[in-house]
Structures are given as structure tokens and as C-alpha cells.
Symmetry: C2
Subunit: 415 residues, 2 copies
Amino acid sequence: MVSTTKATASSRRHILDLLLSRDDLSRADLARLAHLTKPTVSGLVAGLIQEGLVREVGAGVSTGGRRPILLTVPGDSRLTVGVELDATNCRLLLVTLHGERLALSDVPLGSTEPTTVVEAISDGIDGLFAERDRGALLGVGVAVPGLVDQQHQTVASAPRLGWDMVSLHTLLRERLGVPVMVTDRGKAAGLGELWVLGRDRSTDLVYLYLGAGVAGAVVLQGTLHWGSVSTAGEVGHMTILPDGPPCACGNDGCLEALVSAQAIAARARRAVTSVDGTSPAASALADVVRDCSDDLRVVRAVGEAATEGDPAAAGVVAETGRWLGIAIANIINALDPALIVLGGPTAEWGQSLIASVEREVARRALPLPRRAARIVIGHARDLAAALGAAALVLQQAPTILAGTRPDGTAASLVT
Amino acid sequence: MVSTTKATASSRRHILDLLLSRDDLSRADLARLAHLTKPTVSGLVAGLIQEGLVREVGAGVSTGGRRPILLTVPGDSRLTVGVELDATNCRLLLVTLHGERLALSDVPLGSTEPTTVVEAISDGIDGLFAERDRGALLGVGVAVPGLVDQQHQTVASAPRLGWDMVSLHTLLRERLGVPVMVTDRGKAAGLGELWVLGRDRSTDLVYLYLGAGVAGAVVLQGTLHWGSVSTAGEVGHMTILPDGPPCACGNDGCLEALVSAQAIAARARRAVTSVDGTSPAASALADVVRDCSDDLRVVRAVGEAATEGDPAAAGVVAETGRWLGIAIANIINALDPALIVLGGPTAEWGQSLIASVEREVARRALPLPRRAARIVIGHARDLAAALGAAALVLQQAPTILAGTRPDGTAASLVT
DNA sequence: GCGACTTCGTTATAAGAATGAACTAAGCCA
DNA sequence: TGGCTTAGTTCATTCTTATAACGAAGTCGC
């Protein structure tokens, strides 16, 4: 039996980092990758196995000699909760160390008073851990509908919750006793999509949420880009048409003014009335457009009509895609991301939207970065924000775990 | 006398990092900042002093007890050379560890053959080190007019040099025996401006080079953002006016099509002829515009006329600033950088340009990130690229130096 | 101006982490 | 079957960092 050396946090971190990013590595692999010697790695791994953080999973293929013993981090050895806050609801998602979703729980909120919300989150977590070891809780991430000051981890302002300078991080941290991270929903959703889509978690990704408004997130090298005052990612207010329609932000011709649900609904109304004929396919869309004042519902109807071949709807999709394409081409030229992910109701239009976006991008983006960028519809749907909130903690997992000793003492953490 | 413990590369790196970023720290400060104990720091510092990398510089102010002994890294203890390559010239800039410029040397290039260029660089360095200790050379950075593959550190294509897939890094590294880093000129210039302007070197900065074309660089957290295929920062091809004038890239209404020297010259010609009067101030500009086919010369003339109060020139500046302002507003919304730096001939227009840019930005950018972003004219001028190339190496200084032992043995370096 | 309290830096000692060399285990290949 | 290769371990040794105690050099209050 190997003596359980406690090792430095730094080496432990490195080993855990490697094991969490690529699966099925042997001790020898780890030694090579982490620039450590085999005995050192053996010692560290022994400790991690004793803590239940690492498990041996059979032998790998031989490369000419003894077969390696493959190691994994069992996903459920530690668990993370991602929380998505809304004015009326608090959604909790329980995820494993690998980002797999285990359980979902929605807790209605009676009030948006910070203390009430903290209680709701705490109760929700109790529920999720009713039949699990509470000690496995690694940390909690929270996505808030509002502006978050990344540096101080406080909610600078969240009109929908009536919050202003609320130090949610401190409140939760004290209540739960585990690391807590706070983000805004748009950014969290972007990170969430990376964890669903990205094979390696260090890619550059730009996320666009297309709904009533247009939100966004810039994820570089696998981590959220915040900017100097935590407002980066507002792609929705990129000027697309300098003399275009006015936007709620005060500017003219913003992307949001051109592809928000409201703008799309208006476009659909024009398209339907201009066709005026009574083609059978068009009728369903025309009915919805006429009767309904809910823009998002119209957006859905456009999507359905377009897939059924309605030319008016197809026209709306194409025009929306063109505006979006300009914005995305700009993003590709400026940032050269590997992945552009569209989320939200309008993104549900799917391939027809992507196709018209790509036509415009082909015209406007430089060939090299354009060929490298994949434009896709998000996979995480309405779990994106909660998943991203959890991912915020998962990114820190190696650091958090490296500081935890078998006896449960948590080391100091800047978080 | 303290036993010169050799310490881990990691701790050495941390100490050097701190000493290079903030000056005048004591051993006690370092211990606190690096989360090490005083004896450990004393040992490490003793080693660094012996190597000449650190020096004691008098005592600081007491905070109620014994006065601390302040430490600095003498800038000239190690030196870096930044090289800017062009078709006909090779510019070498000798800089200290703190980014201060020591000496400049221009070597004309007979041919652009890679081996010739390598020789020229090597000779240039010999010249700069004629009366200095060659051992002080920390590394060499090279800025190339072309596309550089960051991952493989090769010049993917540089039409102006007639290069295609040239592994400049390997050639130079073998010839010089020190770490070598290769970038493209636009990106290097952006980084160079950060080192001239930035008090702390971890800010987010976006650089725009305004000349015959429009190049750019995105510097996030103090490091260049490359993107997935090393082409990030092409702000010049952001679409500003979807149905605007055609651009060389094939797209319509690019920023470059609107604010390149050529576009500005055309604008100046129109402005001069439309005024047609014979106001005394306008005459100088009109003469240049009529006689001269050199667009960059016209750009300079516009700037001079504008500062002398010529209304036609002021109009040209204002319109150029408006287009630029749209692009910068988009950048501010998307990335929320702390600093936007304008460089190149057109940026020499100075405050009048900034003023009209800011008017447009005020209208189009979101209030929070707009207030946080400072828009300035670069300070590094035609040294920006060479300085940035050197900065690329300086960023690695703690890592490089941490791996160097007193006996001169260099540790393995990924670079 | 004298003593109590602070803070800086060093010394000596002790604990712990990582290494190197040798060794066992286990599989490939001919 | 025997030689070669790779994986993982054991043990003694060497670095690295920490702990505790101490001297040096200040400040502050009375």
C-alpha cells in the first residue's frame, strides 16, 4: 500500500484538471502530461482514490508493454447545483462533475426579497440532496436576470427582481457554506452551451440569445469574458443599420431593433398582409398573426409556417437571418471564434435560419475565420442558464478540490 | 548569509511576476502576496539577488515597526529585442524588462529570403549588444507583415515578403539560442500600445490601425486574443453600412471601405470641389488634394487643414469619425474594453478625430461600458509593432527567468 | 526619553513533497 | 520461450516550504 502523501495543492490541482478534462488516463499518462514523475503521481492518485475522487476503471490497451490502469473521476463523487433565478421561479439543476444533468427542480418564489430567495435556494438544494450525501455538494452557481458585478460578485441591478446592489454571493455563501458564484443569465447560458456542445472546454464561443430582446455572451478560452465593467457580450446592441429603426436602448439600427421578437412579429404582419392571397399554407400563420398580440407566439408560428413551406414565413426567416448574419460576420471577423451558438425562441427556427445566416456570413466574413467558425443552434434550451451557472463552479472544480483535505477541511478560496 | 535555495520554478515565477508588475515591494509584502512564508521568500530573493535579477533599493516607510527593505528588478538586468519586419527594412528595438526603450536600429534588407532575414536580425542584435553582455538577452519577438499561425508559430503567409509557411520561429531559435516569439504586425502594435499606455498590464484593449487599410488587435487580460485560426482582430472588415461602398475583401460597407486612406482621400476630393470657393484656409488642402495621388499624404493634409480651421477638412474628419465611432461603439458593446487605442496615419488627426468618434459612440454604445472605455490616440507611433513584439517576450519573462538557473542552464520552454 | 508594542528579516530546525534508481508486474513480438 | 517495452511501486535521498524563535529597527504613549 502506498503512503497517502498529501501533496501540494498545485500538483493535486494539475492532476485533477487533467483527469476532468480528458477521461481515461493512466498514471503514466498523468506523469507525462503534468511533468511529474511516476512515483509522485502514484502518491497523488492514491490520495485521490482514498477520497473517492478518482477510481480505477479497468485496463487500457497495451502499447507494447504492460497495460495501463485507466483512471476516471466518477462524475457523481461531487455534485454542483446551478440555479436560474426569475421573478416568479427558482430553477435548480443538479449536475455531476462532468456536467451531466442529474435532477431538475423548480421552486416557485413567493417574493423576490433576497432573504426569501436565499431560503428558496437553500430549500431547493435540501430537496435535491434529500437522498444524497450533502457533503458531496461542491458549490453553487446562480444565474440572475440582471447586471452582475463580476469583481465583487454582487448583483448590481436586476429590475425584474427589484434588486439593487445585492450581495447575493455573501448571503448564499454564509447560508450554504460552500463556494458560490454569481452571473447574469445571458452569460451563464453561453457557458452552459459550451458545456453541452464543446468537446474540449477551452474553445472560443459566442452565444446569442434571440427572444424578446437579444442578449449574448462571449466565452474565450472556455471562460466567460466579462470586460472592464462586467457588461461584455451585449451583441444585441451592435449597430447593423446606422439609420435603421430605433431601439429601446436609444440607438438606431441595433441588431435587437431588427431581430427582436417584436421586430419579427411586425415583419410577419407586413408579410402576411402584403401577400393577401389565400394560399392554404399561409392561412395558419395569418390567423396567428392577426389574432395574437404575443410576439413570441408569432415567432413560433413563423417557424412552423416556414418549415411547412409558407413563402411569406420563409421570407421573414430569410430577412431575419440576413440581419443576424451581418452581426455574426462582424463577430467572426473581430474574434475568430470556433463556435457561434444561437439560443432562445427565434433560434428554434432551426436550419432554415442557420442557412440564411450562413449565406450572409459567407458574403461578409473573411474566408479563413469563416471556414473555422461553426454556427449552430444551442442544445441546452431552457436549461442553458442553470447549466452555465453550474459550469461556473465546475470550472473551479480542480481548484476547489485541490484545497480540500480528506478530513473535510476546506482550504482558503478567493471565491 | 542565507543559503541560496534554488526553489521551485513555480515560486520563483510567482515572486518575479509580482516584482515585475508592481515595483518596490519588500520581502514581507511578497510573502503576503504570494502566500508564502517569510523565510521562503528570503531564500528565493537571496537567489534572485545573486543572479542580479533583484536589487535592494533602500528602505520604505515604516508602518509601525521596522522599515521594509524595498526590492526591484533592475530593468536592464535582462534585455529583449523586438523586431519589426518589412519588405525592405528590419527594425530592431532594444527594451528593458520594464518595457523601456534603450536603443533603436534599422537594418536595410537586401532580400526577403528567410535565411537573409534571419542573418539580418542576428547581425542587428550583434550590433545592439556590441557593448553589452550578450548573456543578458532574454528573448526576441518578431512582428511580421502577414498572417501568423500562433499555434505553430509559423508565418502562414506574408505576401509583402513573398513568404508562405515559413517557420521563422525555428530558424531564429536555432540561430540565436534564446526564446523567440512571432506575431503579425497589427497584433504586435496593439500589444505595444498596452505597454506604453497601460498602468496595469492586465486590462482589455482594442487597437485599430488606421492607414492604407484598417488592421486591429484585441488584447484581453493583457494578452493577445488570437482566435481559433489566429485571425482575430480584423475590425477593419466589420460591416458598418450593409449597402455601402465595396471593399477590397469582397464585402460591401466594411469599415475599411469607409475609413481607409483611399476612402478619406476620395472624401477630401469631393469636399474640396464642392466648396469650390477660395477661402484662404482651404487653399493648402485643395492644392495637395489636386496634385497628389498619394492617399496617405492627403490624409496628413486633411489633418493639418482641420487643425487650422478649414471647414471642408473638418467635415472630412467628422464623417470619418462617425463611421469609426459606429465600429468602436460595436466593439464597446461586445467586449467592454477599458481602452480603445487608435494608431496609424489617420490617428494623427488627434483630438478632433477622437471628438467626433466619441459623439457617435455616445449615441450608440450602452452607457455603462461607454463610460468605462477610454478612447485615445496611441503613444508608441511607429515603434508600436517592434515594442509589441518585444512585449510578447516580456510577458513570458517570469516564466523564462524562473526556469533559468545561475549556471545559465535554461529549463525547458514550450515556446 | 524610556519601555511596550509592531513590523521586518534571519536563523535553525522540522516536516513534507518530489525525484532518481532500482525493481516487480504484465504484456508484445518474434 | 526469451528479449524488449511499458506500467506501476518501493525506498532512500534531495529539494522545498513551513514553524518557531530571535535579533534588528521602528513607532507610539506617557
